[in-house]
């Protein structure tokens, strides 16, 4: 009766099956709520030609930035990459493709991908470079553009606590893109601060039900702070 026990004990097992040229959807906002150990494992695996879907690309030496450094990334789908000098350099060199996507559209594309919705209309980006080449249509007199959903071969997600079935909760604003990313991977891997037994999490307070999760690994997090600002 091990069918629902998703806990794996090595990062190799956690990311088994990741291959060159795959698409990986990553949770996190900046350096907050990122699956640090899973990213490190991708670096260890030396997988090349990856398409990474993530709101940001970390910083130069931390988070997804280490995969850029290691030239494993072919394409980034992100809303904001301004924290990353290496990014700009690789982009200008032509080593890297980028698909800049508004933050809300990106979140909704992931959710739609997980929810079986292939496309939706949004006002965001109409009349801007984001809307170029996309169908536009009026509803109730307002113009909208058609955006298609995103799914990944893998999704890598960071949560606070998960039970062995993959039911999990996120802590504070480390939630961000993680719940949507979790739904949109063919294989979704969850790295958590603490693994608990099924039944320990209150059912109606679970943020991501275990049905979306394929593997759970206990991580060890540095939790680097990008912009430490203290009260004056």
């Amino acid at each position: 009766m091990a069918g629902f026990d998703k806990v794996v004990t090595s990062y190799a097992e956690a990311m088994a099956g990741l291959e060159d040229d795959m698409t990986v959807i990553a949770g996190g906002f900046g350096l907050c709520g990122i699956p640090e150990g899973l990213i490190a494992q991708i670096k260890t695996m030396q997988t090349k030609g990856l398409t990474i879907v993530s709101n940001n690309c970390g910083v130069d030496s931390f988070g997804l930035g280490i995969l850029l450094e290691n030239k494993q990334v072919k394409k980034m789908v992100s809303s904001y990459v301004g924290e990353n000098a290496l990014f700009e350099q690789q982009l200008l060199n032509g080593e890297l493709e980028v698909e800049l996507t508004p933050q809300g559209t990106l979140a909704e594309k992931m959710r739609a991908g997980g929810a079986g919705i292939p496309a939706f209309y949004t006002a965001t980006g109409y009349g801007t470079p984001v809307g170029e080449g996309k169908e536009s249509r009026e509803f109730n007199g307002r113009p909208y553009i058609l955006e298609e959903s995103i799914t990944g071969d893998f999704a890598i997600v960071k949560a606070y606590k998960a039970d062995r079935y993959g039911n999990c909760i996120y802590r504070h604003t480390a939630q961000n893109f993680n719940p949507m990313a979790a739904t949109a991977g063919k294989i979704t891997v969850l790295e958590v601060e603490e693994i608990v037994e099924p039944g320990e999490l209150e059912p109606s307070q679970i943020h991501t039900p275990g049905i979306y999760i394929d593997r759970v690994i206990q991580g060890c997090f540095e939790k680097r702070i990008e912009r430490k600002v203290l009260a004056k």
């Binding site: 907050c32 809303s79 700009e88 508004p102 559209t105 979140a107 006002a123 801007t128 504070h172 680097r224």
Partner: protein, 219 residues
């Protein structure tokens, strides 16, 4: 005299009403939170998934899992809620946020805004700005009236890639408050001591000036 950044923020804060949900962009907009009148309360939305943003933390409160959309460490105010990014933008795009205040490179008389990209120069990305201008009930643009070379940022037609179209209705600059309607900028207030002529000279797009242009009033 042209307003300081703090004074622009102070004027912005006068727009808010008690009970407003407000999203403040990075820079001058964020400063507006410091000048909310004592007799009203607004709740700050941070698009990474926090409604009810509190002040920056003390060293003891510091928590890597508690940041705002500018990636700065913050706290949660009493009565805050925290949610995922899809929910956060459902809130924004569904028109539930009362005010968005954000900066811009250019605004034009059609209410178009350019704020996220300078071709061949700046490729940071739009973040949540396109969602915010497409979704908020009221949008206020804050910026200096002209750039550092003296070129007007209030144009007949934006020249940079757009963030949104037909969405800006109010602009608060270091020189003036303007409404955008019927294909023109309408001057409604001027900064204390700033002449209508100076505003005219620094506004490239069509400008409608009423007979009387009151000075801004600061409490």
């Amino acid at each position: 005299m042209a307003l300081s950044r703090d004074q622009i923020a102070m004027r912005v804060a006068q727009e808010f009403q008690d009970g407003d949900y407000v999203n403040l962009g990075i820079g001058i907009p964020t400063l507006a939170a410091n000048f909310v009148p004592d007799n009203i309360e607004v709740m700050l939305q941070s698009e990474n998934g926090l409604l009810g943003m509190g002040p920056n933390p003390t060293e003891e409160q510091l928590d890597a899992d508690m940041i705002n959309a500018g990636k700065e460490t913050v706290t949660a105010a009493t009565g805050a809620s925290i949610f995922n990014s899809a929910e956060s933008f459902a809130m924004i795009r569904g028109g539930h946020v009362d005010f968005t205040v954000l900066g811009a490179f250019e605004v034009d008389v059609s209410g178009n805004i350019a704020s996220w990209m300078i071709p061949n120069k700046l490729i940071k990305g739009m973040g949540g700005a396109m969602d915010l201008v497409a979704g908020a009930k009221n949008i206020i643009v804050t910026m200096t009236h002209a750039d550092k070379h003296g070129n007007s940022k209030l144009l007949q037609t934006c020249t940079l890639p757009l963030t949104g179209v037909n969405c800006i209705t109010r602009i608060i600059t270091d020189l003036a408050v303007l409404e955008v309607k019927q294909g023109a900028f309408h001057l409604t207030e001027r900064a204390p001591g700033v002449s209508v002529d100076e505003i005219k000279s620094k506004t490239a797009g069509e400008l409608v000036v009423p007979n009387e242009v009151p000075e801004m009033v600061f409490a």
